[in-house]
Amino acid sequence: MAQIGASVPATPKKVSTLSKRKVQTTIFILLALGPSYCGYLLFTLYPNILSAYYSLLEWNGITDPKFVWFDNYKYLFQDEYVWRALGHNLILMVTVPILTIIPSIFLAYLLNVKGYKESPLYKVIYFLPNVLAVIVIALMWSFIYDGSNGLLNAILNLFGIDNNDFYWLGSKKTAIWALLPPLIWGGVGFYVVIFMNAMKSIPPSLYEAAILDGASHMTRLRKITIPLINPIVRISTLFLVLGVFKGFEIMLIMTNGGPAGSTEVIGLYMFNMAFGKSSHNYGYASAIGMFLFVVLVIAKLLIDRLSSKDHAEF
């Protein structure tokens, strides 16, 4: 009995300690997650849910909205401007990630393996465009492409190529391609830094062994570096593809979708439908936004499925 009696007061104390710990854990979780969680729900999820609702309306933001069910979606599938814009998106989705990732890997490898004294400086130089505002990048490249005073034509003139003050952004044939350099230039530095850090985690012994076996730089890059940083490359590609698909700031500033719609992407079309000079159709713009969301999810799933998940371990 005494033994039992002695053990009785011990149980509530243990329970109380456990309960206190749980309360503390709960408070900690709430404090740690609560603010950002609230922010996410309020500023991301809630507007997105509202947008889904707006997509069922005919609404100009001023007069009372009219519920039109799925009319906006029906119109969207018949709207040739949507498909034209998606075509431009496709061009950029294919070219920009490839032309950003490949040079980034090469540059990162070079800076990492060669161990130049100036490597940190190069890293900063490559990263510089990422600290510039998009508007600065867009305006700078607009000046580069200017027909009469542009840097590009001036360089061509230096080499004796006179293109008669050609406006690179003024022709339907060249405008979309002229958007690639600012898009790529603005991204390479960022991925160089990411890949450099990923490459730093590869044990040097692997390279040493390869060098003893007589492997060239290209072989080391293909057989050691890329397989070992493959997950990082994959996620970078995903970010780039999704970013390029959603983004339209460069086009808005440099061409506003012109000439004659030849650089219009889906995000810009959506923006102009809602906030354009002659269109204020929030309902239709929201339907395009919802469509964009579905396309992005499909793109993500496709990239996940199609990209190689193999990666070597060390």
Partner: protein, 494 residues
Amino acid sequence: MNHSPKKLMAGMLAIVLMFTLLVGCSGGNNNTPAENKGNTGEKGNGGNSGNGGNAAEGEVYPENGLSKTEKITIKWGYWENGYGRAWMDHAVEKFTEKYPNVTFDITSSPVIRDLISTKMAAKNDDDMFDIISPSFNGDEGTIAQKAGLFEDMSDLWERDVPDAPGLKLKDAVLDNTMEYAQKIDGKFYQIPMGAYALGLFYDKAFFKEKGWNENPKNYDEFLALMETIKNDGIAPITYPGVYATYINFAFLIKQFELADKAGNIEQYTKDFRQGINMYSAPEVKEYWTRMYEMGKKGYFVEGAAALNHTQSQMQLLQHKAALASTGDWVENEMKDAIPEGFEWGFMAIPFVDVTQNKVWVENGIGAGSLMIWKNKPENVKKWAKEFALFLMTNDIQAVNGENGISPIRKDFAENEANLAKLQAAPKAVLEYVKNNNGQFATGVRDVAFASPDAAKATKMIEELIIEVTAGKKDPLPVLEEADKLMKKVLESEK
């Protein structure tokens, strides 16, 4: 008590969703005027009034009966455009000097219209500016006026202008001002305070140096001028293709000139204002066809599609193009870049065959006009109207003129000495109209369409401009296609 992370998350989600629902539903439609919340309507002694301006006798301004002691703050959403803000600062300074109980809380931005649209969609009257200007125009402005979101200011026409007792505003302004100013369902939601003109601006000194015809009297002479300029290795006309509708500044009004010539101007104007036959009227087809012909001959600058409006206007200043399609604010807007010796000149394209016909010039009556948000306290609205009227005094008109806004007070604009004080670009417009049997008219419509079909038609037309001015696309098939869409829109609006 089991606090599993899953349950915790679910709980948090429920709480936050309830909170967001509350936030989302709390804005609501305020159909009653917003109450004074500290910024407006306080008596000098600190008490709240919001009483519509009633005050004891002797404490009111005799000219308008408004209280001298009631503190009023007017929130102004100001669009800082090509005319700058100097005229606005001057007007505010003079008004508050005269009425010290009134102050202004000004938010000034080149993109103020984006902010206003968002505030409109939020439908929060407290948060909305009391007055917005200049001219929150375009389709969105028309829709908002039609929806009754702004105060009817028609009564101001019957008021005396402050610096000329006995002279009613309607009699003080230039002829046709009331006719040109935008009306929605017969009501004026903005009272004009100035005018702007659109067309082709050039450097007189450069024209003289080249020996080009500064005053083509008919269409053939104009085409001959274009050819001469082109042969001299200069681009005849520049415009900003990034915002391609700038080309309309030179062409849109020409449909009225053609209708006038055909003796059909009255009906044509009515149809135009209601958006009827927007793309199918013969006059519209004709001006597009002429633009196309000019495009084929290479009379528009190459690469226009890549130019924003600053780049386009720089081409004019640098003599890379002879004429720029723009507005008379160009001088004020480019004042820091105008080279020495540049002399502003203006011309419209004479679509007429014989010199006796009128040459039509587009002007906008209403540059800088104020619009007053309807759901605001009565006293604030009354003071806002007083301010709108104050802008019509000659002192204010004179300073506005110095900043590029053409005065519209008859006794000011018709006085040669006053005209001499204007900026050179607006002065060049007036000179052109005087010497060329010019006819001012406005391209403002009284309707706006928000359906996707209407947006699509507009987009088709805007994209067409680049191709037509490059001489690469016949506009007629596209006009027909756009017309079909607009017919559908008009049908659905019936």
